[in-house]
Amino acid sequence: MRDDQIRVLIAKPGLDGHDRGAKVIARALRDAGFEVIYTGIRQTPQMIAAAALQEDVDVVGLSILSGAHMTLCPKVVELLHAQGQEDVLVLLGGIIPDEDAAELKAAGVHAVFGPGTSSSEIIAFIRTAMAGG
């Protein structure tokens, strides 16, 4: 019997404690049939990378509202790559200016979702990426 269950880590790096969005997404992904590992607020990039490794996730979803995304996101990507998880899909949600989003994508973030993104859009993005698209 084969499962090929998609595993997603949802983390909130940095110092802002507004985790409502992260929890809503975690719940939506669960309802879409994913296994969601929720790590809570105030995570350092090192904590996120360690959890991503131990949990062998396919996707890391970061939620950042503090404005610190330009330092936190590239650091997470760098740590994931350094530990052999180059294939992990990295997604970012939050209030991210367009020019930052472009730079983050160049730094290895696969997608940036702003306010108003529907959860079905995120679910579809993950499914397509996991199918090799």
């Binding site: 992904l29 309802d31 879409a32 994913f34 969601v36 929720y38 790590t39 949990e55 062998d56 052999g84």
Partner: protein
């Protein structure tokens, strides 16, 4: 997507202490029964070293926080810890929200702690089907202590007793009265009780209720052995597991996991139980029971899978329809299916 690593590479890696290989091997074991067989075959000779600890109890008793605090105490002793935290899979979506890590932060810079969340998927009894395999992998990966936290358990999720050397049942004040404490099931599998949140009102009553339950049980056991054998005989019989287990005095400990209160005592009790298992011969008896259980589970799964493969298509739905029309009863329908299977 890059090509997945060959199975042998994962086996070699995890045996050498490569944590990414371990993490990936656990996923393979969860996802694919054939891979599980290959991987367990590759590591089994290197298992049997770790102390396997089960932590169970009702939702909200503080199991995750307690496991995290316990891991910290083991680390202070220089022991490495693998943690398997099991949470339920949604029966509707097949998805799961695994949230135990929220209470297990603080180990991230430490290579001596490995925490893995696991959804129950189709497993029953508070564990996932792959839990026992994942425990073997953590054992083979070199961890001194492997702690498995079950899903928030009710009264009958006692599967953990079949996979662990030592079972800690976590209680909290205010969850039930003395009648709850004398019910069968979960409470009977405890080697150690931890009354967590012991700084809250009613902790003393919970401790007293558990101690009373243990005393009544213990007294009955004593009377029985005296009645049957007399003292000398009872001592000779100590080699058998039931008698040996009767000699382990089940402690009822008070803990306050959030502040670390009583966690040293819990660790000490676990170490004492581990030494007792070894010294009394109960460890090998329990291991025999555990491996026998594993064998039976695997055979059942294989027989069921074979049944699915070989039964004529439509037989099951025909029988169910017959049952719904009251033309055939459930026992006869089952006998019909088994007959097709062996015929």
């Amino acid at each position: 997507m890059p090509k997945p690593a060959p199975t042998q590479q994962l086996i070699d890696g995890l045996l050498k202490g490569d944590r990414l290989a371990l993490a990936r091997a656990i996923s393979r074991v969860e996802d694919d029964a054939a891979e599980a067989a290959r991987i367990v075959r590759g590591v089994f000779a290197q298992t049997g070293r770790a102390h396997l600890i089960g932590v169970t109890g009702a939702p909200g008793t503080g199991k995750s926080t307690l496991v995290s605090a316990l891991a910290e105490r083991y680390r202070a002793q220089g022991l490495t810890v693998g943690v398997l935290a099991v949470d339920p899979t949604s029966p509707f979506s097949g998805g799961a929200l695994l949230g135990d890590r929220v209470r297990m932060t603080g180990h991230s810079g430490d290579a001596g702690v490995f925490i893995r969340s696991m959804a129950t998927r189709r497993g029953t009894g508070g564990l996932a089907r792959a839990s026992a395999d994942a425990m073997l992998l953590l054992d083979a990966g070199g961890f001194d202590r492997v702690i498995v936290e079950t899903v928030g358990a009710g009264q009958a999720e006692i599967e953990i007793a079949s996979v662990a050397d030592t079972v800690v049942v976590v209680e909290a004040p205010g969850l039930g009265d003395e009648v709850q404490a004398i019910k069968a099931g979960l409470l009977e599998i405890a080697d150690i009780f931890a009354v967590n949140k012991a700084d809250r009102k009613g902790a003393g009553r919970t401790v007293a209720a558990l101690e009373m339950m243990l005393e009544t049980g213990g007294a009955a056991a004593q009377v029985r052995s005296i009645f049957h054998h007399g003292q000398r005989m009872a001592m000779e019989a100590a080699a058998s597991e039931t008698d040996a287990e009767e000699r382990w005095p089940i402690p009822v400990l008070e803990t306050v996991a959030v502040s670390g209160g009583g966690v040293d005592q819990l660790r000490d009790a676990l170490e004492r139980h581990w030494a007792w298992l070894e010294g009394s011969g109960a460890r090998s008896a329990r291991e025999g029971r555990r491996l026998g259980h594993m064998l039976q589970t695997l055979v059942q799964a294989e027989v069921l899978a074979r049944m699915e493969r070989t039964l004529p298509p439509g037989l099951r739905s025909d029988l169910v329809e017959g049952m719904m029309r009251r033309q055939i009863d459930p026992y006869s329908a089952a006998a019909e299916m088994v007959k097709k299977l062996s015929g």
